[in-house]
Symmetry: C2
Subunit: 515 residues, 2 copies
C-alpha cells in the first residue's frame, strides 16, 4: 500500500464504520493476545535492520519504518538533511480530534562490537529468560503457540529504542482491525541520530514547524523502567556539558628529587582547586550554583515521597556505604545541578609512575543542568570560582609571558554547545492526562499501583528541543530496566513489549485534556 493518502482514507473509513464495542486498550490487548507470535516476528524484522546513525543501513531502516507506518494508515515521509540520518515523520489525522499528540522515539542504535555479543546483534534471538538468569535460546513460536512474557528478545535496539515503534505499529493495526480511533491526532517523529546526539533534530523541528506547531504535548518513548522493575513516567531530564581544566607547573616534567619541595606540585594544585569546588557531603561550593534552578512543586514532592525507596538496594548493589547529600534519595538529588570529575590525568600511576613532578594536571569536569540552568551561566559560575581561587584563566596553551606573569595559571576549555535540561510540571493538565492513561496501562500490565512517577531523571535526552517550543513533554519508558541498553546483549523482556502496547493504546485513546 504505497499511497499514504489512500491508506489513511481506508483506516478512517474503517473507524467510521466499526461498532465501538471495545475501548482502545481492550482492543489492543485482544489483538495482542491473538497475535503474540506474529508481533514478535514483526518486531524481529525491525530489529534485524542495522541502525548505526549516518550509515546507509540506517537510511534503509528509516525507509522500512516509513513504509510500515503507511501500512497502518499514517502519512509518512523522511525528513532529510545534508549529512543526516533521516528522521521518519508520520502524521495521523483523526477527524474531530481536539488534541495532537507528538510521539518521539528513535530508530538508531548504539555502535556494536559483535565480539562482545553472545549472538550477532542484528540476528534477533529469543531466550527463555535473561541470559544472566540462565536463559536458553528458543525458537520463535508458531502462530498461535503460547508466548511466555518472561521471554527475552536479544538484539541491538531491542530496548533502546525500536520497541516503541513496534508497539505503535501493533496498536495502530489493532485499532484498524477493531475500528478504534485515537482520541488525538498523532505526529510521529522517529529520530535517526539520537545516539549521536541528535545533531539535526532541532533543524527538522524548525523546518517542519507547520507540522510540529500543532502538537499539544509530546510523549517521549525512550529510556528504561524504574530500577525496581516497575514502569514509570518521567517528567524531566538534565542537560549536560563538559569542561576541561589544566593547571601548569614548569614547562617540562621535573625530577622529583632535584626539584621536589620547590617546583609547583601540579597534582596538588589541581587537587586544591577541585577540592574547593565541592564539600565532603557533595554540596557544590561554586558561588551561585543552586540559585538559578527551578524548584519543584507540590506534585513533584508528593511523587518523590511515594517513589520506591531504591537507594538502599542500589547502594548494596554498588558497594556504597554513603552517597552525596544523603539522606536525600537519588531521585531527589537528580533535581539539582551536578558537578562531577569525569577524569584526572597527571603523570603516571601504577607501574608507570616515575620520579617526576608532572608539568600539567588535567581534570575533565562534567556538569548536569536542571531546569532553570543554562550552560553559559553555570560555566560562568565555574570560571568565576576558579578566578576567585586566584587563578589566571587562559583558553589555550599559555605563553611563556603568561607563565611568568601568573603564579596560578589554568587553561579552561569546553562547555560550548552542551544541552539544557527540560522538565514538565506534573501539575500540567497534559501531564495529568498522561498520568491517568499510563496508570491504567501499568495497573493492567504490572499490577495495581505499579506506576512510578519520577519528577526527573538524571540523564540527558533532547527533550528541551520539544519543551522549548512551549509544549509539555512526558517521558514514557517501556523497556525493562535490565535491558543492557548501550551494551552487548541488549534485550527486551516480552512483558515489556506487551506493556508498551497497552500503554500506547491507553495514551492514544485518553480523554481530551482538561484545559
Amino acid at each position: 500500500m504505497r499511497n499514504p493518502r489512500l491508506a489513511l482514507a481506508l483506516v478512517v473509513v474503517a473507524w467510521a464504520t466499526a461498532a465501538f464495542a471495545q475501548s482502545g486498550p481492550e482492543a489492543a490487548r485482544a489483538y495482542r493476545e491473538a497475535h503474540e507470535s506474529a508481533i514478535l516476528r514483526d518486531f524481529s524484522e525491525l530489529l534485524r535492520r542495522p541502525n548505526r546513525a549516518f550509515t546507509p543501513e540506517a537510511r534503509g531502516t528509516a525507509l522500512f519504518i516509513r513504509d510500515r507506518l503507511r501500512e497502518v494508515g499514517v502519512a509518512s515521509r523522511l525528513l532529510e538533511a545534508e549529512g543526516a540520518s533521516p528522521a521518519v515523520l508520520g502524521v495521523l489525522e483523526v477527524p474531530g480530534a481536539q488534541r495532537t499528540l507528538g510521539v518521539y522515539a528513535h530508530y538508531d542504535g548504539q555502535p556494536v562490537d559483535p565480539s562482545q555479543w553472545t549472538h550477532p546483534p542484528f540476528e534477533p534471538t529469543l531466550y527463555s529468560r535473561a541470559l544472566e538468569s540462565g536463559g536458553q535460546p528458543i525458537d520463535f513460536p508458531a502462530d498461535g503457540a503460547p508466548v511466555d512474557p518472561e521471554w527475552r528478545l536479544y538484539a541491538r535496539s531491542a530496548g533502546d529504542d525500536k520497541a516503541p515503534i513496534a508497539a505503535a505499529l501493533t496498536v495502530l493495526r489493532a485499532f484498524g482491525e477493531a475500528g478504534i480511533r485515537p482520541t488525538s491526532n498523532l505526529v510521529f517523529l522517529f529520530d535517526g541520530e539520537e545516539e549521536a546526539g541528535s545533531p539535526h533534530l532541532g533543524a527538522f523541528l524548525r523546518n517542519e514547524s507547520k507540522v510540529f506547531d500543532a502538537v499539544d504535548g509530546w510523549l517521549f518513548f525512550d529510556g528504561p523502567s524504574h530500577a525496581s522493575g516497575r514502569p514509570q513516567l518521567v517528567f524531566g531530564v538534565r542537560g549536560s556539558f563538559g569542561l576541561e581544566i589544566t593547571v601548569y607547573g614548569a614547562t617540562r616534567n621535573l625530577h622529583s628529587g632535584h626539584y621536589g619541595n620547590w617546583a609547583p606540585d601540579t597534582g596538588n594544585i589541581l587537587a586544591r582547586l577541585l577540592a574547593s569546588m565541592k564539600d565532603d557531603d557533595g554540596t557544590v561550593l561554586v558561588k551561585g550554583w543552586y540559585e538559578s534552578f527551578e524548584p519543584i512543586g507540590a506534585e513533584e514532592r508528593a511523587a518523590l515521597a511515594t517513589m520506591p525507596d531504591w537507594d538502599a538496594e542500589l547502594k548494596r548493589e554498588l558497594g556504597l556505604a554513603r552517597t552525596e547529600g544523603q539522606p536525600q534519595s537519588l531521585p531527589e538529588r537528580l533535581l539539582a545541578p551536578a558537578l562531577n570529575v569525569r577524569g584526572i590525568s597527571s603523570g603516571n600511576t601504577g607501574s608507570l609512575a616515575r620520579n617526576v613532578i608532572p608539568n600539567t594536571a588535567v581534570a575533565a569536569l562534567g556538569v548536569r543542568l536542571v531546569k532553570g540552568n543554562t550552560v553559559a551561566q553555570l560555566r560562568g559560575l565555574i570560571l568565576d570560582h576558579i578566578r576567585a581561587e586566584g587563578f589566571h584563566i587562559v583558553e589555550r596553551e599559555p605563553t611563556m609571558e603568561e607563565r611568568l606573569a601568573h603564579s596560578r595559571l589554568v587553561k579552561v576549555t569546553g562547555g560550548e554547545g552542551g544541552s539544557v535540561a527540560a522538565r514538565t510540571s506534573m501539575a500540567e493538565p497534559f501531564a495529568q492526562s498522561v498520568i491517568g492513561a499510563a496508570r491504567a496501562a501499568a495497573d493492567r500490565a504490572f499490577g495495581e499501583g505499579s506506576l512510578v512517577l519520577a519528577p526527573g531523571m538524571g540523564g540527558t535526552l533532547p527533550l528541551h528541543l520539544f519543551t522549548e517550543l512551549g509544549k509539555p513533554a512526558v517521558i514514557t519508558p517501556i523497556a525493562n530496566h535490565d535491558n543492557n541498553q548501550h551494551a552487548a546483549d541488549e534485550n527486551l523482556r516480552v512483558a515489556n513489549l506487551w506493556y508498551a502496547i497497552d500503554l500506547f493504546a491507553a495514551l492514544t485513546t485518553m480523554p481530551p485534556t482538561d484545559r
Copy 2:
C-alpha cells in the same frame, strides 16, 4: 701486566725513588697538558663499551676497568654475586699513609634508545662544542695536536659516570710517571648497577667489610656541576619512596547523568584528600612531617648564603612565576622532606573523557627524605593523616563487606624498600679537607672562588650505604651541568674532564685530615 702485586710493587718503587719535584696536582696537570689527545682517545675506549646493568657487555666493561686499574698499580678484582653486574674493587696501599680514601663511581649507564641519538651512543663522537650551540663533529686530534677545552665528547656515560674512572686512571698514570705518591690509601669501588638502583651494593660492602672498614671517608664521584656551570661539592642526598593511594566509589563506573549528584565523586574525594596534605604554599600538612629531620648547622647556613642565586634563572627557564616555599631558595628547600604528586589517574580526560563517574581515583605520591627521616616513619605519618581524614585503609582491593562498612575507603600500597637520606656535616674534619683540596682544583680549573658548596642535593644516590657505615662522604661531581645525563646525546665537556683530573689529583694528595 697481569700480576697486581707486581704492579703495585713497581709503582711503590717508582714513588720511593722519584725526586718529589712537583706537587700531585702540578704533576697531573703537566701530564694532562702533554697527553690531551691520548687521554681523550683512552676515554673513548672506555666509552665504547656498552654498560647497561645486568648485560654480558657490562661485565666485559668491568673486566676492562679492572685491567686498566691493574696497569696503573691498583690491586683490582671484581665483586660478584648471583644475578649481579659486578662491581670493580681496587685497592692502592700507600706506605705510611694515615688515611684511606674511598672512591666511588659507577661504570654502568642508563638504557639507550639509539633512534633518539644523533650518533650511536657507544660510538664516542667529538664535537667542536655542544650540539645545541651549533657544534660540529670533528676528528680526534693527532698526538700533540691542540685540544680545545670547549669540545664535547658525545657518548652514553660520558657524563654519568665513566668520566671519573678515566680521570682516576689518568692521574694514577701521571703520578706513576712523575713519582708522586697519594697521601692516602685508595679504595676504588666502581658500581655496575647504579642506574638500576644498586641492588647488590650493600651486600658487596658487607661482604668486603675488611676492605671497606678501613676507609676513613668516601668521595662520591657522580652527578653534574651546579646549574650555574660552576663546580660544586655536595654533602648530602635525599632518600625517596613512593606510595600509591586509591579511593573508591561504586563497584563500577557510573553514568554521570543517571547518578551524578548522588554517587561518590571519586575525583573530588581524592582531590580533597590530596589537598589536605599540603597547603597552597607547599607546606606539608601531614602532622609531624617536619619534626624528625636533622637541622643544618652553621657551616651549611653559611654555604647556603654564598651559593649562586640561581632561583631567578631557573624560574625564567622553567616558566615559573612562583615556587613552593618562596622566598626560600631551591638549595634550602632541598634540606627538608618533600611530598609530591607523581601522578593521578581517574577516568579519562581530553577526547577520551566520557560521561562517567569513575569508580576509582588513584594518586602516586613521591616522598623525598632528608637526614633524620626514615621511610617507615614518614610512611606512618601519611597513613595517620589519611586515617585522621576519616578513611579506612586497606592494602589490597576492598571486599564488598569493606565497601559497605566504610564510607571513606582507601587502598594504600608501596613504601616498602625506598632509600634513606644521607648528609655529612660540613664541619667534619674530613669534609673540611675535601673542601680545601676541591677549592684549589676549582680555583685552578675554573677560576678563583668558583667552587660551590651545596649542603645537599635533591636527588637520591646510595650514599647512605656508606654513611651508615659511620663514614663521612662527600659528593664530588665533575660533569658539566648540561651533560644530558640519562637522556640522548649525553656528553662531557672536555674542560670538565680536565677539572676531574685536577680534582682527583688534589684529593688524593691532600694533607692528612686533622683529627
